[in-house]
């Protein structure tokens, strides 16, 4: 009843191509933004920020980045962990090398550096597709982790081989380091997430997104109607790399503070982000958020309910979590390749007719 486009007519093409064509959607989106910016920072505590909000926001950026590559452009990548590591180490080197520059720019530049690395490893995509490309990006994953482990310059020759984020301020408020207030870290990440999501949405609804999707759906036809496959594929790798790099930098600098590359940015991370994209929905920005939220919240939920509430042993719950995620991946791949986003879309279709389906 409340959710329908009746009485909502687009009278211009601008209105027709906006992100939320239905008024109710648009208002809901504004409300979410207002709550996220104006209310949440005042009520959250350390536990909520570190267990839920920061990982959700940061993984959302990574998932959007990977979704652009896999969901929109159809180029499978298993190198996300490695590319996040590039973002993290680039950010570390910039933070320690140029301490006078604002951390904000460090993170943006880290994204740019990751984009360049990602394009480099995306070059094989011009020749190979599908599984073979996935293997090629897997090489990136292992090579990059090895590189950051072995070459001392990247971790400033520290004895532990770890990188630690020094304290950096934005508008006089620390956002990295031990003194960071929960709300500051949260807001800092939120800004990046919102801007990334908007930029991704704008790119994917315009000509760039159409070129990517054309390459995904039928690359030969795309080339014949004038899409330059080289540019389309590499731009997808670049944009994806930029977002993944941002998320890696935030993950290291704001969320963890200290990183040991093999542990944090290993192959598991690549799979985790890929699962977010698959469960959330390939080719959907909303799906990236949904997938990230799901995989971040699931462990928290299980831990609180099963360990905290019912007193089950922790290792059992952890294994249960593996099983649930594994089963979900299989179910989604078989039954709903477009993921949670598609379920949401179907629910909306139903809601339009509710409560009178006929």
């Amino acid at each position: 009843m409340i959710y329908r486009e009746s009485g909502d007519f687009s009278t211009t093409y601008q209105q027709d191509s906006q992100t939320f064509p239905i008024r109710f959607d648009r208002y809901r989106y504004y409300v979410v933004l207002v709550i996220a910016f104006a209310i949440v920072p005042f009520v959250i505590n350390d536990y909520w920020v570190n267990a839920v909000f920061l990982p959700f926001l940061i993984y959302s950026i990574a998932a959007i980045g990977l979704n652009i590559l896999v969901g929109y452009c159809g180029q499978v990548s298993l190198g996300t962990g490695g590319f996040m590591a590039v973002g993290a180490y680039a950010c570390y080197k910039l933070m320690t090398g140029f301490p006078d520059i604002n951390i904000f720019f460090h993170i943006i530049i880290s994204g740019g550096i990751t984009a360049a690395v990602c394009v480099l490893f995306g070059l094989p995509s011009l020749r190979i597709k599908g599984f073979y490309l996935a293997v090629a990006t897997l090489a990136a994953q292992f090579f990059l982790v090895w590189l950051f482990n072995r070459v001392g310059w990247f971790y400033n020759y520290s004895a532990s081989g770890q990188i630690n984020a020094p304290e950096r301020l934005v508008f006089g408020v620390p956002v990295t380091g031990a003194e960071t207030a929960p709300w500051a870290a949260y807001l800092f990440c939120l800004v990046f997430t919102v801007v990334c999501a908007l930029a991704a949405r704008n790119m994917t609804r315009g000509m760039q997104g159409r070129q990517w999707m054309a390459i995904r759906d039928m690359d030969i036809a795309a080339e014949i109607i004038g899409v330059n496959p080289l540019k389309a594929k590499l731009s997808a790798f670049a944009v994806s790399g930029f977002f993944v790099g941002l998320s890696g930098a935030l993950f290291f600098a704001v969320y963890l503070g200290a990183v040991e590359v093999g542990e944090v940015f290993g192959i598991n991370k690549s799979f985790l982000v890929l699962f977010m994209v698959i469960i959330g929905g390939l080719g959907s920005i909303f799906g990236s958020f949904a997938g990230a939220a799901f995989l971040v919240l699931l462990p928290v939920f299980l831990k609180n309910v099963l360990v905290g509430g019912m007193g089950w042993p922790t290792d059992l719950v952890e294994h249960l979590q593996f099983m649930i995620v594994g089963a979900m991946i299989i179910v989604f791949l078989i039954l709903e390749p477009h993921g949670l986003a598609q379920l949401w879309r179907v629910a909306k279709e139903k809601l339009r007719l509710w409560p009178f389906p006929h």
Partner: protein
């Protein structure tokens, strides 16, 4: 024979201009197989040019040569008075040559509107950064091109399926969407590879009407491959006939119809 330099006027009063594309002694080989053997013909501005021939005659290969997908071993393609260098297909497309495919090659996951908008790639130039901001150049460009695309959508009568993903459409409509995508590019030459293949009579009539209307309305030069002789003879201004990779006839439908070599090719004469 027709005059080779000046244009002419058809019986129904359409103006046909000068030569816009000329194929000179094209030979295309795949290993030992000669798909096209020393073929020359020209395409005039505003005409409907048909390429016909039995199966395996090399018609689609010819179209692929024109659209830059195959590169002939010998011969030259002259476009708008200039010799065309070896080009990638997307570069050819950006010169204003659009095509449809024998087996539909639409982007199944995208809506009809997005498919047709993709055809406007030649006209949309906003960079990645401008697009990520959207407001300003990208939005303005999107709106301008959307207006043109809506004209095409109206013209081909596919308004009602604008927002439907292409994968869900029936065959006949898909063919029409593909034509819309090619037209959206405002091509100077439109290549149609069997636009009526697999259609029933009614759909064929619709499609024929669209091909004629497009030619009338936009003056689009059209190159057409088709097996239905009735359609070809009715639609086209001039016809090239191919058989076993060779050109065996070239002229108006009437000339071709009375050409002994063409009759032999279609009725079957032992090649010895």
């Amino acid at each position: 024979m027709l005059d080779t330099t000046e244009g002419y006027t058809t019986e129904d009063g359409r103006k046909i201009g000068g030569v816009v594309m000329e194929m000179k002694n094209i030979t295309l080989r795949f290993g030992g197989v000669v798909a096209i053997k020393d073929i020359s013909f020209d395409i005039r501005e505003g005409e409907i040019r048909a390429i016909i021939g039995p199966n395996g005659a090399g018609k689609s290969s010819m179209l692929n040569v024109i659209s830059g997908f195959y590169h002939p071993q010998e011969g030259e393609v002259w476009y708008k008075g200039e010799k065309r260098p070896v080009m990638k297909p997307y570069q050819v497309a950006r010169q204003g040559i659009a095509r449809t495919f024998q087996n539909i090659a639409l982007f199944e996951g995208m809506t009809v509107l997005d498919n047709v908008m993709t055809g406007r790639i030649r006209q949309m130039k906003a960079g990645l950064f401008a697009q990520s901001i959207w407001k300003g150049k990208a939005e303005q460009e999107e709106t301008e091109n959307r207006e043109f695309v809506e004209k095409i959508i109206d013209f081909l009568e596919i308004q009602h399926i604008r927002k439907t993903p292409v994968g869900r459409l029936p065959y006949g409509l898909k063919k029409r969407v593909e034509l819309a995508r090619a037209l959206a590019a405002e091509p100077s030459i439109l290549l149609l590879d069997e636009p009526m293949a697999g259609m029933n009579v009614e759909e064929k009539e619709d499609m024929s009407r669209f091909v004629l209307d497009v030619n009338d309305e936009f003056g689009t030069t059209t190159v057409l491959i088709e097996h239905d002789m009735g359609v070809v003879m009715d639609l086209s201004d001039r016809v090239v006939v191919m058989d076993y990779g060779q050109k065996i006839g070239d002229g108006t439908p009437d000339e071709v119809r009375n050409n002994q070599a063409v009759i032999d090719a279609y009725l079957g004469v032992s090649h010895d």
